[in-house]
Symmetry: C2
Subunit: 252 residues, 2 copies
């Protein structure tokens, strides 16, 4: 499909975001980008009608959709479907000015996003180290072991890297790439939000250890559209069905 066609279709119908209706999860990275860009979208599975839920199920099981997504979240753009969080953001970044125009800087932004995604995967595996299809209770002992290593080794490695690249980009303003907000800034805000919710003890000293990272979090939280969104009922509260779960026993 040509870009022109996509633009034409978008005029006809708004983006459709497909994600599990009860959690922020990976869908939240897409929601934040759409909200910040001020783009019209329908959060399909959260619509209060049967048809929406059926459409969601149909996409996931369908063998007739062209380019079927492997898993949610996915975004309906005209007649096209885009899956994979980072790929959706790559698309939205280009379309809505949430990424630099320069090709190598766009790629760097994407690289940061993929690293945020890696960290999110590791957060998920702190409470589900054996399988997403088993209950937390059935893998709790493994979870404690994995969470300890995440808190003590992996989390500091990721957060130090974000701190370093923030420091290298601009000496004063907290931005990951260049001077403008990118989707990676919004995603990093969400990662910090989630880590603070899931691991309040381990994150207690973050303002001292990662001052620029915390400044970015604060800065994004105060952006008018993000502030309004987070105060609205479109923002699902964190809960223990999502990726960021607060289980005190996993927080050391």
């Amino acid at each position: 499909m040509l870009t022109k066609d996509v633009e034409e279709m978008e005029r006809v119908k708004p983006y459709g975001l497909y994600y599990w209706p009860g959690i922020q999860g990976r869908g939240e990275f897409i929601r934040l980008a759409l909200e910040y860009a001020g783009v019209k979208y329908v959060d399909v599975a959260r619509q209060k009608n049967k048809k929406a839920g059926q459409m969601f199920a149909a996409y996931l099981s369908s063998h007739s959709v062209a380019n079927p997504p492997f898993a949610p979240p996915f975004l309906e753009v005209g007649d096209s479907i885009i899956g994979q969080t980072a790929a959706i953001l790559l698309f939205l970044g280009d379309r809505h000015g949430l990424a630099p125009r320069n090709k190598m800087k766009r790629l760097w932004t994407h690289q940061i996003q993929l690293t945020i995604g890696d960290c999110v995967n590791e957060v998920h595996d702190t409470h589900h180290p054996i399988s997403a299809s088993l209950y937390y209770e059935d893998q709790k002992l493994h979870a404690k072991r994995r969470a300890k290593i995440f808190r003590e080794e992996r989390m500091p490695k990721f957060l130090s890297w974000f701190e370093q690249i923030l420091q290298q980009n601009l000496p004063r303003d907290p931005r990951l790439v260049g001077r403008s907000i990118t989707y990676a800034d919004l995603s990093l805000f969400q990662l910090v939000e989630g880590l603070r919710y899931a691991f309040p003890r381990a994150m207690q000293n973050a303002p001292n250890s990662y001052p620029r990272l915390c400044a970015l979090h604060q800065f994004v939280a105060q952006l008018p559209r993000i502030k309004a969104y987070c105060a609205s009922d479109r923002r699902i509260p964190f809960n223990e069905d999502g990726i960021f779960r607060h289980y005190p026993e996993l927080d050391g």
Copy 2:
């Protein structure tokens, strides 16, 4: 950096691939793309001189590199560094005709690559479900539990999806996107190679269950440049330090 500048620098020095010297790992997805494209590159950490090893270490610990990679593999392109396997392939796909020109099809190719990457992560976690920093022996029991779920639930889910999209793309020729080979085809070849090495029992019935996937694997294996590469000593054999490890107890 402008694309023109990147092209200018490439003329001066070949790509530098940085990855652990003893394993195929995630670096192999980059090697296959470079080999198929017939592009000059230096596999830096495998050069038999001290300086190369030092350069690798320096990148990983440096606080002065612009856009420092979080982890290997990363690719040196002129004065730029690109990290994250999927981002490197996105770059190489555009530069060397390993992805469609059409924007939405390029994004679809990338989406497939990200899904291959997700599967590779899950393969890694079958033998290291608790931490990459602990020995396999110290997480063997967890590994057995996780590997069983991978073999019985996750692997079939991934492989069925690849089979489906191969079937939907072309009725006869095994290609993921359009009629030409993309980097995703090369990566899927490597995934099948790795799964066959790690889980020979679980993969025994693959030719019946996933005929198109196996046809793609065979087709890529016979491409002259890939065939020559796999027969050369540039191809590191699979081993039990890499991502795809053959531990019979994890193969059911």
